[in-house]
Every structure is written in structure tokens, then in C-alpha cells.
Symmetry: C2
Subunit: 260 residues, 2 copies
């Protein structure tokens, strides 16, 4: 096999880039272990979306505003979780409004829905739940009592796990694009021995997502190599390139994790 003189490019159009903002002092102070980020990374991957950044932020208007501004400039899609209840530490929508330099305005439809859920009238802290950044839309779907608030490409979810997951599943199909294709190669040699080959692969296939992971305390293999692309033919070429250059005795298994 001769080396291509010009690197191969994938024929697949650019993948949407998502960023995730997890909001809550209880996570940063170690009281609660966040599970939303791992859930969203798995879900977005299976939807064909590339998560490029996750941030965990305190319940602080300025910290949220700064993170929203930074993410807004980089991402096609932003999800926030947490900080949307009625108490003093629920400042996510105020932070988003400040970050986007939009006023917080009371949404009449949301005001009615919130009143239905809480069954309280005239409690100013409950009414505050209907304040959204100007221009926000409400996404309604099966199985939600209160809609998801969307501000352009930014989607606001609650922090309570059951409610968050139900709402995400209810609207997630709007995020779907072409799927990723993956090949995994398990090796019985340490990654330092294939480092040179992997540099070559990364150079020849610049659009490939190529990972190398040392295995610790696993007798069946020492290194796991992952190749990914949305372009199946491109992935196949890269996989063939790698397999042709690996010593046959180095490969334990392909695609199926060896257990022994």
C-alpha cells in the first residue's frame, strides 16, 4: 500500500458542536455527583452530535453569564441543567439573560402553566419561574407538564434527574443528524509501541477521530484504539491503513472487548 501524498478528507459535512453547562453549587461542593453530563454525552453521541465542552458552574449569575457568552461563540447547540426553581439560588435564567444581554421578561403562557403546577397565586417566588430571557420560546411535547425553555440554540433543563431526562427524551429527536461509525482495535502491546503509527494515521486521515487508551489491570489487552467518522467509507480506509501496518500478533480483537 502506498502512502497518499495528500491527506484523505472525509466527504461528510461538518458535525454540529454542542456544549453543556451543568449548574449547581451542590455538585461543585461534592454533595452530589453529577450524572447529567455523562447522560448527555452518551445521548448526543448517539444522535450524531459532537459534544465539545462541558462546564460545571456555581449558582452565580456572573459565572453563568460568562460561561454562556463563551459557549455561544463556539457552539451550534447549548444545553443547561439546574438552577431553575423558585429559590434564591435558582439563577440560571438570570445568568443566561445577562450573558446574552437580553432583559428577563415574564412569559404569559408560562405564567399560567406555572400557576397550574404550583397551585399558588400571588406568590412572587413562584411567579419568578415565568421570567425568561426576551425572545425565549416554549417547546411543548408529550409527557411534560411544563415546556422546555429555548433561547435560540440554547435549551434550559431542570436539575432534578427524573424530570431532566424525561424532558430531554421528549425533545431530543430535533437534535439528530447522521450517526458516527466506530471501529475499535484491542492490542496486546503498550501504546508507546504504536505511538508512531498513530501519529501517521492522524496525519493521513485528519478528519478521523482517533483515540488511544492504555488498559490498566486488564489481562486480556494493554491498549485500546478507537477510530470514528460519520463517513463509513473514510472510516473503512483508515481502518485498513492501520491494520495493514500493525504486526498481526499485536492485535487481540476488533470491535469486541476481549475478556480473557
Amino acid at each position: 500500500m502506498s502512502k497518499p501524498s495528500v491527506p484523505n478528507r472525509s466527504a461528510t459535512p461538518a458535525t454540529p458542536r454542542a456544549e453543556i453547562l451543568i449548574i449547581g453549587n451542590e455538585i461543585l461542593s461534592g454533595k452530589v455527583a453529577d450524572e447529567h453530563a455523562a447522560f448527555l454525552c452518551r445521548e448526543f453521541r448517539s444522535l450524531g452530535v459532537d459534544v465539545r465542552h462541558v462546564a460545571v458552574l456555581p449558582d452565580d449569575v456572573d459565572a453563568i453569564a460568562e460561561a454562556v457568552r463563551i459557549a455561544w461563540d463556539r457552539a451550534d447547540l447549548i444545553v443547561t441543567t439546574g438552577g431553575v426553581g423558585p429559590t434564591h439560588d435558582d439563577v440560571t435564567l438570570a445568568g443566561i439573560a445577562k450573558g446574552l444581554r437580553r432583559p428577563l421578561v415574564r412569559h404569559p403562557t408560562l405564567e399560567g402553566l406555572v400557576r397550574d403546577v404550583y397551585g399558588v397565586s400571588g406568590n412572587p417566588h413562584v411567579n419568578r419561574l415565568a421570567d425568561v430571557p426576551e425572545g425565549a420560546e416554549l417547546l411543548v411535547a408529550e409527557g411534560m407538564r411544563v415546556p422546555v425553555i429555548a433561547v435560540d440554540k440554547l435549551y434550559v433543563f431542570p436539575g432534578v434527574p427524573e424530570v431532566f431526562r424525561r424532558k430531554f427524551h421528549a425533545i431530543k429527536m430535533r437534535f439528530r443528524t447522521e450517526p458516527f461509525h466506530v471501529k475499535v482495535i484491542y492490542l496486546r502491546v503498550g501504546e508507546e509501541l504504536v505511538a508512531g503509527l498513530l501519529f501517521d494515521v492522524a496525519r493521513e486521515f485528519p478528519d478521523l477521530a482517533l483515540g488511544s487508551y492504555p488498559a490498566v489491570d486488564r489481562p486480556a489487552y494493554r491498549t485500546k484504539i478507537t477510530l470514528e467518522s460519520k463517513d463509513a467509507a473514510y472510516l473503512h480506509s483508515a481502518f485498513a491503513y492501520v491494520m495493514a501496518r500493525l504486526p498481526a500478533e499485536a492485535v487481540v480483537e476488533v470491535d469486541r472487548e476481549p475478556t480473557r
Copy 2:
């Protein structure tokens, strides 16, 4: 009890602010659920350190450089995990160097140690493990084969969980400051009914860390209130202020989670 006209201030000096950078495509693509952030948030809390930001970043020099620059301006202490092996996707030290605008230089002591561990001489990919941002120090402690790399206030840890935790425990006492004190109040009413009181508490005790969390699917209570400070007397005053204003029948338990 009369309301103080001037907000109470805590007598405790400022708490060190930490930021955590978790580096690895395998986390963002949902292949591996990160556990380092939760571990570090718990550990730092028990050391008296306030974690203010966690970011999960791709194996990308520019993304790491940008995150390092942003964190450097805000934090007293930065920890990175991941991206320090010998392959093409191990770019953490290059990202830190770029972020801090320092050259990567080969560290002679580290070069010798790396050679001892890998037992390979002349492999350029192994030698690359000895390249560090200029001015980096090596922290040596019991139980580590390879020292922790520190660049001023930034500490570089590997991503492999067993190795990462062993190294963190080996050097963590250098981060310790005065401990946080905590009071927890469990309520049988929804948080919307104490939202007004909590706004008052946050105003009267601005240095208090005050949290409110709705409980879902827990029959024994509906709301959990947390009060925290490094100043035990200040915490005591705030706790007394809250308890004096809560209807006695609203409180289920203090400090011990009710199970029924």
C-alpha cells in the same frame, strides 16, 4: 429577634478557589463516564478548598490552551487530569504551555525517570513524556513512580483512575485549609413556601453558602436546606436566624436525613 440593619459578615479569610480541567475525547463522546470531577469536588471540599469551575475538554491543544488561560485568571489552584501519555492524542502539556505562553522544554530528571518506567531508550514518543512547560516543578512523594508535574498553581495528573487517585492522595495535604462547617435542615414543605425566607437569609448573611434542593420521590421530606461557612459562629447565627423563622411543624429533621 430584631433584624440586623447591616448584613452580618463572616470573620473567616477568603477560601482558596480551585478549578478542574478534565481532558479526554473519550468522556465527551460518551464512551467513559468521568469520575474524576466528583472525586476532586469531594476531596477539595474536605480539604477546605472551594471548587468554582469544572470543565471537560477535548484532546485539542487550542481548546486546552484557552481553558487554561481562562482558569488561570480566576483560580488560586488548577488541577488537570488526562492527556499525558505518549500518543498523538496526549496534548495536555502542549496545551498548558500554549495557554501560559511558555515553551515546552525537556526536563532532564523526568527524562531519566520516564526511561526507567518504560525501559525503552531512543523511542521519541516515550521521550516526549519528559517535555514540560518551562518552569515546571516535579513533586515527589511516597508511592509514586513518576512525580506530579506542577506549573506554579497548576497540577497535572494522569487520566488512569488508579494512578490519578494514588497521586492526588500522595500530595493533597499541601492544599488543606480550614474546614467548612455545615448545617442541613429537612422540611416537609415545598421550597416555594420558604423561598421568601431564604432570600432574607441570603441578604442578611451574604457570606453564607445557602442551598435549597427539592426532594423528588422521597416520602420523608420535600425540601433540603444547606447552610455552610468556615466560620462556626457565623454559621450558628445564620442557623438560629432560619430556625427562629421556620414554622416548627415544617421541620422534619436537622443534620440527619430522614428515611421515613
